[in-house]
């Protein structure tokens, strides 16, 4: 079942977004018909602005509004420690913890053999070049704790350790406020393996 002209176009555009199936795309498109023209314009404008004004930091590939991102420009950040993440949104998540005072490197994804994504498709060459050119002594690998993130961390650890760098991996374990009983055994197993002295 296809709708007419602009409505159908909008449904198709929404349907291309990640995590939006045909039903949701239709619901969103019809929602747009009910909102004020002003609200619709603001949404459209925000999308255009983000494409026109935001780019990637030339150093770490985080989102930036200038050549370099806010974090790379900040002289108070420790230049000897780099935290390696998959996506810019991971930078934001780690920044919220206020635990990390070094700088970042955004890979732009994770190694996924099944999807045909190898090291060459990620910003690993750039990472190696940075490590050589900057004063980096330690790397914290903060890729996701799933198959792809772990393959990436294991690949990077081997590569970076051979360059004589200190490499660590963020711990994975139980969510704070959670309940042991409900944890799956993979997560609980990790929490045990990563236990520490008190």
């Amino acid at each position: 079942m296809a709708f007419e002209g602009p409505v159908q176009d909008l449904i198709e555009e929404f349907g291309r977004l990640p995590g939006i199936g045909p039903k949701s795309a239709q619901r969103l498109a019809f929602h747009m018909l009910t909102i004020d023209t002003e609200d619709a314009r603001r949404l459209a404008n925000a999308i255009v602005q983000v494409k026109e004004r935001v780019r990637f930091c030339v150093r770490c590939f985080n989102v930036a509004e200038q050549q370099e991102c806010r974090i790379c420009r900040d002289p108070r950040r420790d230049p000897t420690v780099l935290c390696v993440v998959e996506e810019p949104r991971d930078v934001m998540a780690i920044e919220k913890t206020a635990e990390f005072r070094g700088r970042y490197h955004v890979l732009g994804g994770a190694i996924s053999p099944i999807d045909g994504v190898g090291p060459d498709q990620l910003r690993i060459k750039e990472l190696v070049a940075r490590v050589g050119a900057e004063d980096v002594a330690e790397l914290v690998l903060a890729t996701n704790p799933n198959i792809e993130g772990e393959a990436t961390a294991s690949y990077l650890a081997r590569l970076l350790k051979s360059m004589g760098l200190r490499v660590s991996r963020i711990a994975s374990g139980l969510p704070v406020g959670g309940d042991l009983e409900y944890a799956d055994e993979v997560t609980l197993g990790r929490a045990f393996a990563g236990r520490r002295d008190l």
Partner: protein
């Protein structure tokens, strides 16, 4: 697979062997319970193993038919992942054995001795992928290249033995690479598409 949020946490990850209770949905089935049998943690934690494991899962996924029981394929995949989890010295050799046997399980059994066309007893020194194996002098195309007997010998061991025999492959690396290339082309031909994960497997 569509990810059901975090309800099953680390259980529903590629490589994980799980015992599932499914509810038949309209287009996709819905997981209502998941018990982990094993997560093959060592395979996940090492890049070389993970690349081989991914190739195993990718090939099995292409060959398994939806809604069809594939016991032999499933058992072979388990054997493959289990062998990788023992951190073999040559994981790529384990993968080659798995892929060659997988072709056989999927109905593309490679004939290494008797002629694949007429059944004339072998050994024959010509092997063609399209024919599905060895060909006798009468059936071999005139421009076919004979196969190195050392490579044929390795192919026979890959097809016949348990995968654990490949954990520490003693063969000449040149012979192993030739056999690996043949296994890869054999599978690509019969799958009708290349295995993407093979590109990241370290030889």
């Amino acid at each position: 697979m569509r990810r059901p949020g975090s309800r099953f946490g680390g259980r529903l990850e590629p490589f994980s062997h799980v015992d599932l209770q499914l509810y038949a949905g309209r287009s996709l089935d819905i997981v209502t319970q998941a018990e982990l049998v094993t997560s093959f943690a060592p395979v996940r934690a090492d890049f070389a193993l993970s690349a081989c494991g991914s190739a195993m899962v990718e090939a099995a996924d292409h060959l398994a038919q939806e809604d069809e029981r594939s016991n032999r394929l499933f058992l072979l995949l388990l054997e493959g992942l289990r062998t990788l989890a023992l951190s073999p010295a040559t994981p790529s050799a384990v993968l080659d054995g798995y892929l060659f046997r997988l072709a056989s399980v999927a109905g593309y059994h490679p004939h290494l001795d008797a002629c694949a066309a007429c059944g004339a007893p072998g050994p024959h020194d010509v092997f063609t992928i399209a024919a599905g194996g060895a060909l006798c002098p009468d059936d071999a195309p005139f421009d076919a290249h004979p196969l190195d007997p050392a490579v044929t010998g390795l192919l026979r061991r890959l097809l016949g033995g348990p995968l654990s025999d490949q954990r520490d492959a003693p063969e000449d690396p040149r012979v192993r690479r030739a056999a690996a290339a043949l296994v890869a082309s054999y599978l690509t031909y019969h799958l009708g598409r290349p295995l993407r994960a093979l590109e990241l497997v370290e030889r």
